[in-house]
Amino acid sequence: MSHFVQAVGASIPQLDSDEKVTGRAQYIADLWRPGMLHAAIVQSPHAHARIRGYDLQAALALPGVRAIVTGDDLDERHRMGAFIKDEPGFAKGKVRYVGEIVAAVAADTEAIARAAARLVRVDYEVLPAVTDPEAALQPGAPLVHDDAASYVKVFDAGTQGNVCSRTRLSEGDAAAAWAQCDVIVERRYQTQAQAHLSLEPCGALAEVDAQGRITLWSANQSVFRVQANVCESLGLPMTRLRCQTPRVGAGFGNKMEAHVQPVLVRLAMKARRTVRLILSREEDFETVRARHPFVIRMKTGAKRDGTLLAREVELILDGGAYGDDSPGVLGYALLMNVGPYNIPHVDAHGQVAYTHKMRFGAFRGFGVPQVTFASEQQIDEIAQQLGLDPIELRRRNLKTGNDPWFCGQQVASNGLTPCLAMVEHASGWQAARAARATRGAQGDKRIGYGVATSAHIGGLLASGAIVRMLEDGSVLLNTGAVDIGQGSNTVLTQICAEALQIAPEQVAIASPDTDGSPYNWGTTASRVTYVAGRSVVQAAAEVEKKLKQHASEMLECAVEDLELRAGGRVGLKGVPGRELPFAAISGRAHWAAGGPIIGSHSWVFDQKTVDPKRAVATGLPFQQIGIFSFTALVVEVEVDTLTGKVRVPRAWSAVDVGRAINPQLVTGQIEGAFVQGLGFALTEEMVWDGAKLANPTLMDYKIPTFAELPEVLKAYIVESHEPTGPFGAKSVGEIGMNAVAAAIANGVADAVGVRIDRLPMSGERVLQALQQAGVAA
């Protein structure tokens, strides 16, 4: 079959480029409706308090105020939550963190709404609070949820007291294996809360029609999670709520679950008018979600010849006031803690603690950047103690070919070995490390080289696709997957075009809309290209089958003798002249026989994660998680021994993505993830002062700028061809971030010989370590 159309593998620009470069793209804050009201939120000043009552009299009296919603407008029985139904639409009966939304006001202008919000009086009974996860797990600590055990849960979370969930995964016999280890490394690590900082603050706009049906526009990563969360928390039948999507200004996990949608929909229902709510940057920092702070106790053992033998890890996650995605993050971090190495004896267990802080949820990497910061440093420490080169030790233990992942899941494509070789070569690793011995101290700035590897999944839960051929032979693709900037609209269009051998311009992709789109769990877990891509391929195959059925009747020949031809034609094999354009077939289907040609597909990712014969798993939220992508990363690190400040002049990041549907979009993910990882490693930290977030502003919370971009940042694509993936493709969205903090920590150790076990590796923290190690005066 001649491949005239090379849609897959082409770096075509994003389909929505024109509107983004001309400023015509409409994000949630750009949507506007005639007579639209503006909303403002009321936030709790307390970390833990019972709400005894509200006094809305002064606020309602303000001219221009149209409606106010409080906890009294919610029903105690209706709760939402991805894993544990522990969260009301907004505070009801109790507040559980400083900044939690307590009420909202709708008014003619935003200024009036904000003024009225300040006039809302709430009668609080202040209660003791606990904000440290380890303290929250001690007996007698104040309970964040009085009745946590009673909540509906979608898996055996073991929720009780301040334990939100607990999980244990084990393989082999770690306890017995320590005796055979010649070298054992053990440390405690701590990682910080990181803010997503998508530059677009969260927002939503809700319209109510005459019959009381609500159309909700919001910045989201899944219209179906918005629908589920709003309907569950407000007790609405899903038929009452239609969720649609404007352009989304990135998410990184912040917009996967609910943010302001529940309170805004309740407000619009009460006002019976269109209302828009856009959070300020400070409100976005204080009310939504952030990356989980981890406390990690990890132990790794190896034989003298460098064979890794045993690993034990215990995780304590700060879950914040509500479960959100915490059980998923815990389970996944434990599954990924080993890294891409064959370690026969592993015991991985952990807990998520409820605390009186904002909820912690999904954030690019989903727990792996945290746990990799510990695991990849321990691999380096073992190499150091055994006198082995860090890459050589890794090479002796790498998973290759079809080595199964920890807990037994099959791996069908593994390009890690070429990834490691590529970055080793590109960085001049061997020469650079050798030179280090002779490098000695050259002035205040010391150079070091760090390596780290990681993996990530692509999969999880349900996805669908509908491909409908229009009368002119072009097609409309509808998957319900939200493009938050990563380019999924473009990638899925390329997959559909390649499958039907038509030009991408012949494919239109529909905006995600719960009224019209097939279900898609969400743009999260690096899943859309793989999971939605497979559905597109299947749906397109169904269209091809129907096209050939029609053509066989039109050309009076057997279906088996027909072939797709590039450019939107079906032809008789071997007879170039004998063919029909899609338009002719579709015309017949619409106007003569058979009906419009529609292909559809729907599935849930189905590969089991745990092989009960190999591993024991308790409290693992998902039974089928995903197929594996792999990465290796080398960084050149410069440590200023005068100030402790760390800089990354050069970095080389290789990722095995199975097949790059759009190489430029793939390198974009690798580069973007690296720089976001740089912030996680060196400068970003949400700081709490007691129970209050101390730096909820861009003045005080600092992400990398152009100046922090390494002079050399090379992204390499390795294609190992995933047999189950669409045209061999698998995931790339998060993996580029997983190994960054670990590689930099290893680079710092190589440069100045100190191990940093806490993030971020700020100048202060590194200088303290230098002073304690006697390296710096």
């Binding site: 480029s17 470069v21 804050a29 530059l199 990184f252 580069e671 992400i703």
Partner: protein
């Protein structure tokens, strides 16, 4: 209070209170939505507009302070050759993902190329040091601005 501002080469009558910023007036009264609100404190750069030839923060410029100034937003620069070269280069290089920071980046880059037809990578990073991006990791943006500069220099020489 009634104000007359010069927006994209045209007089625009607007209503502005003492504390109203140029960003609020552009977005809420003139429906010019290319300039976005990301932090309202002048740090993120998504509100960058061109005031009298220099990039400026629309969120930190009071509407009253802009009387008599030539304000240009991306909407007003869309059909200028320099901006079109930048738009093509950004599109071909994949210099944006979500696009929320792109209007601000383009306005700042256009002002740079107006002043410096042949900037090096360091000059581009310096000129855009006030524009944050969380998606791309900045590399492709630098490449796109350099590429646009090269194309413009060729066209100028031709």
């Amino acid at each position: 209070m009634k104000l007359e501002l010069q927006i994209n080469g045209e007089a625009a009558a607007v209503e502005a209170g003492l504390h109203d910023t140029l960003l609020t007036v552009l977005r809420d009264q003139l429906q010019l939505n290319a300039a976005k609100r990301g932090c309202n404190q002048g740090v993120c750069g998504v509100c960058t507009v061109n005031v009298d030839g220099w990039p400026a923060r629309a969120c930190l410029s009071l509407a009253h302070g802009c009387e008599g100034a030539q304000v240009r937003t991306l909407e007003g620069l869309n059909d200028t050759p320099r901006m079109q070269a930048l738009q093509r280069a950004f599109t071909e290089a994949g210099a944006f993902q979500c696009g929320f920071c792109t209007p601000g980046m383009l306005v700042a880059a256009e002002a740079l190329l107006a002043r410096e037809p042949a900037p090096d990578a360091a000059a581009v990073k310096q000129a855009l040091s006030g524009n944050l991006c969380r998606c791309t990791g900045y590399l492709k943006i630098v490449e796109a601005v350099l590429a646009a500069a090269a194309v413009l220099r060729q066209e100028a020489a031709a």
